[in-house]
Symmetry: C2
């Protein structure tokens, strides 16, 4: 396997935590890594190879403009490494929009893919994951794009989680086929058509609602990037608010602290499953290469997990599986 | 004050829990109530007056069709009671779409209102509420409707929560003004225009994201009914999933149960603030009368709380405040 390219300058905790995670991933997983970073990364990198770049696209920079203008940026160089066969995958915790734009412009799309989509695995508290896509790549979508998202999402859920025949739901505001806006009604028709998900190995189960996202009633939830991003961030915000109030309650008195200590062995697995460090990040599906989008707050553990996901996707032939899934 | 009309046959636990709640509301709040129900409700109603209706619109019935065809249904009769000056407000835990359609068709809109919207108060775990609208009345929206939702939401937050100058945010997928789809970009321009929220007494603070919904950084969050409904149900589902895993952890062993008992005094206020029984339901803003939409699972306490909200809205002159807020 070719090395996995990691953007050393992307993310709130870059470069130290990113490079630290890269070193850990190399040692713990035995995966070859190549860093893409500015010259000042070199002293941190130890014996990891470094592709040097002179620029860093800021977290809040305009994605399209930055990628067009900053041709020697770490993100653009990382995507080029995949395109040119010097890396098997790219990982960045930097500017999400610029990561997508770099991957799209340098790697190109899988033949037949209309638009790439961000697939985000949501940890279900009772166990397992629900794959939500598009989680933010395309604010406005056409019905046939949603069909392709469903096909790619099903192939992803099969490859990533070993689900034999993933159940695919269309995110709407009621279970009946007629519910939702024009986009949902048209997409429903395409998804319900005979054979729509056959090549992808998935099964359409109809509309699902926001409340189904964290249940084990559905494996892949399809929506436009605006709605998907709002749903994802609403969940993240809700969990964070609730957990921080819980921690307050647990620390309210000596008695409460002692009681919370007793409960910790039960609560830690739950807490750990919700921690973004452990999900390994989202994946940009539909570009002609593996591209992992990590959380901006990624630390070392998140990087290790992202490398694990990237390795699995490369070894499992994810890009070929996606190409096969959208073939109609 | 005229009596408050309650749909005795609406909701999963109707009529028993609804009528029980109506009796409690009358006794505990000293508010006059009139039930609207089928003849078999009479034996439960005690000395509460009953407007008889012969039909009940099912929870999953098509709203538009039902309201047009079932003219002697409890929902249509409740809305007529408000229209005809026999009641000051209507409350239903039944079919949400049919509740909206009944109110809209029988009460009509406040002069100048383009579309009514469902305003749902979200309990913020650290205290207070964020008002989300539209939470599901209009799956597809125009930019100028969102402007009116902002105006009505600000007036509602002032009247309901006594917030002097509510901070109004536009729900999008990034904080910068250009973020989001065409609807968001156009709505942003209208909301940012000088004086847009002056009559409503609110202040536009720009785009907000899903993660801001349960924080105290914003008082009113404006969006289309599709996105709002998905965000609301995602939060509800996420909270439910997390709370049920917590309860599992709390009951995992005798030791855990004992520790959880110690923490209960700290956790109950949080649990209670998240319980839909305690929010009093959502309000349909923009129709020419007070209309409270309660959760389908409403029990007695939810009915009492809904009556409390309805009374406050009537006594506080909510409908006039909304009319003033949208005047430009």
């Amino acid at each position: 396997m070719l090395p996995i390219a990691i953007d050393a300058n992307g993310g709130d905790r870059s470069p130290a935590a990113i490079v630290g995670g890269a070193l850990r991933a190399r040692d713990e997983l035995g995966v070859e890594i190549v860093l893409v970073g500015t010259p000042d990364v070199a002293p941190l990198a130890g014996d990891l190879p470094l592709i040097e770049a002179s620029e860093v696209i800021a977290m809040d920079a305009d994605p399209g403009q930055s990628v067009r203008r900053m041709k020697d940026s770490t993100l653009v160089r990382a995507a080029e490494a995949v395109r040119d066969g010097r890396a098997s995958a790219m990982i960045s915790a930097g500017n999400t929009g610029a990561t997508m734009a770099s991957a799209l412009l340098r790697m190109g799309r899988i033949s037949g893919v209309k638009r790439p989509a961000i697939a985000t695995p949501l940890p279900v508290p009772s166990g397992g994951h629900t794959v939500l896509l598009d989680a933010g790549a395309n604010a406005e979508c056409q019905p046939d794009w949603l069909l392709q998202f469903a096909q790619m999402g099903a192939a992803f859920a099969r490859a990533r989680y070993g689900i034999d025949e993933p159940r695919v739901g269309l995110l709407s505001i009621g279970e009946e086929p007629g519910k939702g806006d024009a986009l949902r009604k048209d997409a429903y028709g395409l998804l319900a058509a005979a054979g729509a998900l056959d090549a992808a190995g998935g099964r359409f189960i109809g509309n699902v609602e926001g409340r189904d996202l964290l249940t084990d009633d559905v494996d892949v939830v399809v929506t436009d990037g605006f709605t998907g991003n709002v749903a994802l961030k609403s969940l993240e915000g809700g969990m964070k608010a609730l957990v921080s109030r819980l921690l307050e309650a647990f620390g309210a008195s000596d008695e409460a602290r002692a009681a919370a200590d007793v409960l910790m062995p039960e609560l830690l697995p739950l807490y750990s499953s919700l921690d973004p460090e452990n999900t390994g990040g989202a994946m940009l599906l539909g570009v002609d290469g593996v591209c992992i989008i990590s959380h901006g707050s990624s630390g070392e553990t998140a990087v290790v997990n992202a490398v694990r996901v990237a390795r699995d996707m490369v070894e499992g032939g994810m890009v070929d599986a996606l190409a096969a899934a959208i073939a109609t």
